[in-house]
């Protein structure tokens, strides 16, 4: 047999069909570029090939490979499936999970070029971001998440068997409604999901061991004997005000049983796990898109992929980073891929070939050379809001022709208050950054008081900014859920953040005969 001559610039693959050998070759080539040339740092990769149906499955269970059972996932699946079958919407080419090893799903329908793109995008782009961004480092536990989900799934199905589907569903419904109010926005201590599981198991064992039926017979203090405390003392005791509603209910709701608290805790942990992702949409996608673009270009330059494959890649790349203008029918806000990718490119450009304007705006960054290092730095240290505030350049604002519009319900017209010119740059940048600030995007709702000595009414407060109130029917429905968990009356007061004036009040009475002892 004659030796096969391998040239360094030989094509990695040919044609559209993929197989495991090709994927292995492509992966090695990409790994070389990503680690050696671009200096990326990634978790070990695990690539899983799945079918379209499995992709839909993953979609509906918020992208996680294993998830507890709940009707809302079934609902999402039903809708996504219909959209997909009717051709209203395509499927994502990949899903990637922030775990170690980092799991990327690739679909069997993809062509070889798409698989190459997906590996570059997910297995290196997102993976690098997950491992290096400070938000993820601070908030998520990539090692523990899959084990924790496994625990959650078993725990919840166990609860379903023991307490019935309806009871579990009621708690989960309520917890889901409060998911965005279930995160700690400021770190206390690093959460370790493995310890979580152990903690729960040990608590259960301890309870089983020390169970003594006699405690039931201890007479309760008669009503009205409890010393009434001053308001400030009471609030301090309960840790109020508290913005993490799920946390508060888990710890303080008087009528919940242990397993119900544990369900709240599970939902809270999952919500917390996704909190960084919500804050880094632009950066995360920008990073992955920038990485795949660099890698694919490099593969093409070195002759490892064919012209045809490169054109196919460009086609999907341009449709991913397409940004319709505001008056376009397809417009639905800024495309995070487009903005992220444009900003990454811009950062590299400023670092390597700055203009005078750039020098003025970015004295530290301009002309420092090594664009890749500059971009990596940005990936590590920012979230969307601060990233836009720090790096959005006048050059890019002009390129995207950004302008800001003020919509005041009292005025008959919308007002264009800033455009992409000397006077507007800073304001536009500030406003765009705010558009990505979760603290600003999500209503500021806190638990402010509980009358523990009296009727145990739970009082929540929404600090209204810019006069935008809560959606009434939804707010009411969520309050109903809170009341189900809390067990007593719940009130929500909307106050103006500026004048402290009460704008609106919602109240839900105590649930009758909730199945809690």
């Amino acid at each position: 047999m004659t030796a096969v001559i391998t040239r360094p610039d030989a094509l990695l693959y040919d044609g559209v069909e993929w197989d495991y050998d090709k994927i292995k070759r492509v992966y090695d080539a990409i790994e070389h570029i990503a680690l050696k040339e671009m200096g990326l740092d990634v978790y070990p990769n695990q690539i899983e090939v799945i079918t379209a149906e499995q992709m839909l499955d993953a979609y509906s269970s918020i992208g996680m490979p294993l998830m507890y059972k709940h009707w809302s996932f079934g609902k999402h699946f039903a809708r996504d499936e219909m959209m997909y079958r009717k051709g209203y919407r395509g499927l994502a080419y990949e899903i990637v999970i922030n775990s170690s090893p980092c799991i990327s799903y690739i679909m069997e329908e993809n062509t070889m070029t798409m698989q190459t793109l997906v590996i570059a995008h997910a297995a290196f782009g997102h993976n690098h971001f997950f491992k290096n961004n400070q938000l993820f480092q601070q908030w998520t536990d990539a090692q523990g998440i899959l084990d924790y989900l496994e625990f959650a799934k078993t725990y919840i199905s166990h609860c379903e068997e023991r307490y019935g589907h309806a009871a579990v569903e009621r708690v989960l419904d309520a917890a889901h409604a409060l998911m965005s109010q279930g995160v700690h926005k400021y770190p206390k201590k690093r959460s370790d999901l493995r310890t979580e599981q152990r903690r729960e198991r040990e608590r259960q064992e301890y309870q089983d061991q020390t169970f003594n039926d006699l405690w039931r017979t201890v007479p309760k203090p008669a009503a009205g004997q409890r010393p009434s405390k001053s308001v400030s003392e009471r609030k301090k005791l309960l840790g109020l005000p508290e913005e993490n509603i799920l946390y508060f209910l888990e710890k303080k709701a008087p009528r919940l049983e242990h397993w119900q608290r544990e369900l709240l805790r599970i939902v809270r942990h999952i919500s917390q796990y996704f909190y960084p992702q919500k804050q880094t949409k632009v950066m995360n996608e920008g990073c992955a898109t920038y990485v795949h673009y660099q890698i694919m270009s490099r593969l093409h330059e070195t002759g490892q992929i064919s012209e045809g494959a490169f054109l196919e890649f460009l086609h999907s790349h341009t449709s991913v980073v397409f940004q319709p203008e505001f008056d376009d029918k397809r417009f639905s806000g800024l495309n995070p891929y487009a903005l992220g990718f444009a900003m990454m490119q811009d950062i590299a450009r400023i670092a390597e070939k700055p203009t005078d304007e750039d020098r003025q705006w970015f004295p530290d960054l301009a002309g420092r050379g090594d664009g890749m290092a500059a971009v990596r730095e940005a990936w590590a240290n920012f979230r969307d809001e601060s990233f836009v505030l720090q790096y959005l350049s006048p050059h890019l604002m002009r390129k995207l022709k950004l302008f800001s519009v003020r919509d005041d319900a009292e005025d008959p017209y919308l007002l264009v208050d800033h455009i992409h010119n000397e006077r507007g740059y800073r304001d536009i940048r500030k406003k765009l950054a705010r558009q990505y600030d979760l603290g600003y995007l999500e209503p500021d709702i806190q638990i402010v008081d509980v009358d523990l000595a009296g009727d145990r009414k739970l009082i929540l407060q929404h600090r209204v900014t810019n006069g935008v109130l809560l959606d009434e029917s939804d707010a009411k429905a969520v309050l109903r859920h809170i009341a189900n968990l809390w067990g007593y009356e719940v009130q929500l007061i909307e106050v103006s953040a500026i004048s402290e004036a009460i704008l609106k009040e919602h109240a839900v009475t105590a649930p009758s005969g909730i199945g809690v002892v």
């Binding site: 499995q54 208050d417 536009i428 009434e472």
Partner: protein, 430 residues
């Protein structure tokens, strides 16, 4: 890098979630299905259905800001002509510059649409319908039997010998009676041979020989397999329920039947077919149309070709009787019949039809449904409180013990309720 092929993993991971979802939305789904069945075409009744349900019951509420009111700022791309201080007409319906408000959850939508699979659709569609009790009566008479395993017996044909059971009995008997093992005999023979070769004293050899003789005799007396060990598989013959049905569609196609009436009839037949299909392994359909004479035809002709002539109902019943005799003996088939007509019949034929129905057709049928269709607007004679010829005729035949049901239908919307009424659970016939 690890690459794992997950394609062969068990499918339908989300099935449990889907069941939970359907259970949650049950009330609305049932309503949607009922509505849909009133509207949809004949061909697609068997397909899945895209149902739209009110989002209320499956809403996932969250605290979020209202879409109206207050002051909002948006940064949007693609400025063409605006300069600072310009005003823009407010776009209606929240299009235009809505910024990044859009939520993937489709909040604010009043409706939720999704596709039910065929089975799910039919399950809900035919829920709480039951075949008339008469089925049981038929099963009792059924001639068909099948054999089922039913334990063991001590007699039987060699082909049915149960080896395992037989050997087990043999083994326990041999242990209980201490039948000498083959190894023991062989050992003793060996000892004897050694003793003889070694030339030991005759007395000892004699003792060994006797011992050997004794155990050989014992092993002969206690047989390896005794007739009392033998067991045979026992089979019992059980009557097999008849799992096949034939459905007769009888329809008057004379000039007085309008397209609308035929459509109503067709819908009813379709429902009956679906219903039978869910319950029986195989369902045959026979289409018989009649004017003043009856003919068995194919489905296409049955529904779509027109015919002129008078109306003699008894011809159709005779044709049905003929077909049953030729192809569907009522001992082997469950026979269902549905007749649709506008109620016309030749006066001279009424008596004959009644006799035929009472004496021939009903005794062999599981169920006979008579549907009288009327024009939607012209309410027909029945609306005036007068009964049609055929209605009067059949009414004479009707009695609690006969499997005959009669209903009037005027519009498509009534078809399903009437059908449900006819087959409602816990209620045999009309």
């Amino acid at each position: 890098m690890n690459i794992i092929d997950r394609r062969l993993n068990p499918q339908g991971k989300s099935l449990a979630n889907r069941q939970r979802f359907l259970r949650r939305a049950k009330e609305q789904v049932v309503k949607a299905v009922r509505d849909a069945s009133g509207k949809r075409g004949i061909q697609d009744i068997e397909n899945g259905e895209k149902v739209t349900i009110a989002a209320g019951g499956v809403r996932e509420p969250s605290f979020h800001r209202a879409s109206q009111g207050g002051v909002r700022d948006y940064v949007v791309p693609g400025n063409k002509e605006y300069v600072e201080g310009d005003t823009i007409q407010r776009p209606d319906g929240g299009g235009g510059g809505r910024g990044s408000e859009g939520s993937a959850d489709g909040e604010g939508e009043d409706e939720f649409r999704f596709v039910l699979s065929r089975d799910e659709f039919l399950d809900i569609f035919l829920e709480d319908l039951e075949l008339p009790d008469l089925v049981k009566q038929k099963v009792k008479q059924s001639e068909s039997h099948s054999l089922t395993r039913a334990g063991y017996s001590v007699s039987g044909s060699p082909a049915n010998l149960n080896l395992v059971r037989t050997m087990r009995n043999s083994l326990s008997r041999r242990i209980a009676l201490k039948r000498p093992k083959r190894d023991e005999i062989r050992e003793l023979e060996e000892m004897l041979r050694e003793a003889e070769e070694a030339g030991e004293d005759a007395e000892q050899i004699q003792a060994l020989r006797e011992q050997l003789e004794h155990i050989v005799l014992r092993s002969r007396r206690i047989p390896f397999i005794d007739p009392i060990d033998v067991r045979y598989n026992r089979f019992e013959s059980v009557p097999k329920p008849i799992a096949q049905a034939v459905m007769f569609c009888l329809m008057d196609v004379s000039g007085s039947m309008t397209e609308h009436m035929k459509d109503l009839a067709k819908r009813f037949f379709m429902l009956l077919y679906l219903f039978l299909r869910r319950r029986y392994r195989s369902v045959d359909i026979v289409f018989i149309r009649h004017t003043h004479e009856a003919k068995e035809v194919d489905e296409e002709t049955f529904f779509y070709s027109t015919e002129t002539g008078g109306t003699v109902v008894s011809t159709a019943l005779e044709e049905m009787q003929k077909v049953v005799q030729e192809r569907y003996p009522d001992s082997e088939w469950n026979i269902y019949a549905a007749q649709a007509s506008d109620g016309d019949n030749m006066s001279s034929d009424n008596a004959k039809s009644a006799t035929l129905l009472r004496d021939v057709i009903l005794p062999m049928c599981q169920y006979f449904a008579y549907i009288e269709v009327a024009a939607e607007h012209n309410m027909g004679l029945s609306a005036l409180g007068r009964e049609t010829e055929l209605w009067r005729t059949y009414k004479q035949v009707q009695s609690p013990e006969r499997p005959l049901a009669m209903r009037r239908v005027r519009s498509r919307r009534e078809i399903f309720p009437v059908f449900r009424e006819l087959f409602a659970r816990e209620k045999a016939g009309a």
